[in-house]
């Protein structure tokens, strides 16, 4: 589904992503792990178009997407959440979610003046859809609350609902489990599994090994900008190169 070839991102002399190639199969939950500073989030930002890769190619279902801006990549079906969630604080949870679907007729400035009926009908449909996803992630009681009152974990759930309402093909999750209390974490894991069963493909950055082991297959390991290993969770964990990357050279 998503194919990366020789992806490089350098900042000045630093190659934060250094020749990464991989393929993400449809219907999988691929884990991306690695020590801090390995380049995982930078890789995510390249994939999602926050900045273009320095070199290399990216194809989503056969279409080149490298170098496209983040809005076009989202419209192509690749959505992402942020490591530190970025809800729109002065908008309600419902508005946050209703924003995301692409090609809304009412987003043309003349539409509310010239075709208010059509906009209202679209909004009604959209509201139902948004409510469905808000309920799906368990934020129903907070539908009309401004997003700024949400806790860290709830913000992650909101971001999840916000991308899901747009029905992306592939979702990049940047540390969905970080800073989330254990009960909420179980909810998030269950949510991802449920969605995956419904056909959504995921690429997940995560440090929480329990989450990775229970959810992700395959797992990719990054260190110092390179892809070290790829395979199922057990074999990756046993790989001496992975242990070395995490714990330093002495052990291996």
């Amino acid at each position: 589904m998503l194919v990366a070839r020789d992806l490089v991102k350098s900042f000045g002399g630093v190659r934060a992503v250094d020749g990464v190639s991989f393929t993400i199969e449809r219907g999988t939950i691929t884990g991306l792990i690695g020590p801090n500073g390995a380049g995982k989030t930078t890789l995510f930002n390249c994939l999602a178009g926050l900045f273009p890769p320095t070199s290399g190619t990216l194809t989503l279902d056969g279409t080149r997407i490298d170098g496209l801006s983040s809005d076009r990549i989202f419209r192509a079906g690749l959505a992402r959440t942020f490591q530190i969630p970025r809800p729109f604080p002065e908008m309600t949870v419902l508005e946050n979610v209703m924003l995301a679907p692409t090609s809304q007729h009412g987003e043309r400035f003349w539409a509310p003046w010239l075709t208010p009926g059509r906009v209202a009908r679209e909004e009604a449909t959209l509201r139902e859809k948004a409510r469905h996803w808000i309920a799906f992630v368990g934020l129903e009681p907070l539908v009309e609350a401004p997003a700024r009152v949400l806790s860290g974990g709830q913000r992650k759930l909101l971001e999840l609902a916000r991308v899901l309402v747009a029905e992306p093909k592939l979702v990049l999750l940047d540390e969905p489990g970080a800073g989330v209390n254990p009960r909420l974490l179980d909810e998030i894991v269950a949510t991802i599994a449920k969605l995956n069963a419904g056909g959504v493909t995921f690429l997940v950055i995560e440090h929480n090994m329990d989450l990775v082991m229970s959810l992700c297959r395959p797992v990719m390991v990054m260190a110092q900008g390179r892809l070290l290993a790829e395979g199922d969770a057990e074999s990756v964990q046993a790989d001496p190169r992975v242990i070395e990357a995490y714990l330093g050279g002495a052990i291996a």
Binding site: S70, F88, T92
Partner: protein
């Protein structure tokens, strides 16, 4: 009755200005309150509207472009079009800038427009300005009061129209995208919204409304001069928005009323209190006063008298503080 007449005529005069300013502040509110565009060049776009309408509607000027003698309505529509076009050109060039950089740029542009107005004699009449801008209703009504009252009705009708149109806009999915961009542009962009295009549309629509305000001003005062569009005007309009409450169109209208009220009252008061020789210096105190009011506002009620309400169509209420 005779004693009431001056009061009535002053009230009419005052309210015409309030409604003209309210129209302009509504335009600014779309840009700043809803999109977060820091436009400090408001006076420039008001000037473009005022001059456009004057040139289109006034009788023939010797040795000058203009004097087309067209109906006032055409002048007003023309004002919106030219201010909008100017905003399009400025926006394409400047809207990639953020926050204070956009502010500096728009400020410079407004200064440039003002200087062009002061010097392009063939177009704007230079320092003499444009005279004989038609004042609607002056012939229909014999008295100034009658004409002013009719013009006030026109201004209020236009204000209501602008208010309803902008309310519809900001409550729509379009407005939702604008607010999202204001809150977090990176996040909005990562959700598929072309932030630049939306910023540009908001900027152009807002400036077109400012141009309309300029035209309303020109047809009330009856002449247009470059010194009407100095940065102090932008400052006053910003004060109106901040005091009234950015992100709330009713706040924008209320702010125009309150700030213009304080401005004129303090002006009259200072004229009464300061000795003849110190009048010019006394007038400067007015700006100080508004500045202090603005600071006090930002400390005690940073969201303005009636600030933004979070929630669709203002259903979920959250007061002003």
């Amino acid at each position: 009755m005779d004693a009431l007449l001056p009061v009535l005529s002053y009230a009419t005069f005052f309210l015409v200005f309030v409604s003209v300013f309210a129209v302009i502040v509504l335009g600014l509110n779309l840009q700043w309150g809803f999109t977060g565009l820091f436009n400090v060049g408001v006076a420039g776009f008001v000037a473009i509207g005022a001059y456009t309408s004057a040139i289109l509607t006034a009788p023939d000027y010797p040795n000058q472009v203009g004097g087309f003698g067209l109906p006032v309505v055409v002048g007003m529509v023309g004002a919106m079009v030219t201010s909008g076009l100017a905003a399009l050109v400025v926006g394409v060039a400047a809207l990639r800038l953020r926050h204070d950089y956009l502010a500096i740029t728009t400020f410079g542009i407004a200064m440039t427009i003002q200087l062009v107005a002061l010097n392009a004699q063939w177009l704007t009449g230079g320092a003499f300005g444009l005279q004989f801008v038609p004042r609607p209703f002056t012939e229909t009504f014999g008295t100034t009061l009658g004409a002013n009252a009719a013009y006030l009705a026109l201004c209020l009708a236009i204000l209501a129209l602008v208010y309803v149109a902008l309310e519809r806009l900001v409550r729509s999915p379009f407005g939702r995208v604008l607010r999202a961009i204001r809150e977090d542009e990176t996040a909005a962009q990562s959700l598929g919204k072309r932030a630049f295009v939306f910023r540009l549309q908001s900027f152009v629509i807002g400036c077109a409304v400012m141009g309309l305000g300029g035209a309303l001003y020109a047809h009330f005062v009856g002449f247009v001069a470059a010194e009407d569009f100095l940065p102090i005007l932008t400052f006053q309009l910003w004060a109106m928005l901040i005091v009234g409450g950015a992100g709330n169109n009713r706040g924008a209208v209320l702010g125009a009323f309150v700030v213009w009220g304080v401005w004129t009252l303090s002006g009259n008061l200072l004229r009464e209190l300061t000795p003849q020789a110190e009048q010019a210096r006394g007038a400067a105190l007015q700006v100080v006063l508004i500045g202090i009011a603005l600071c006090a506002m930002l400390v005690w009620r940073p969201r303005g008298l009636i600030g933004e309400r979070v929630g669709e169509g203002g259903k979920a209420k959250r007061g002003g503080s």
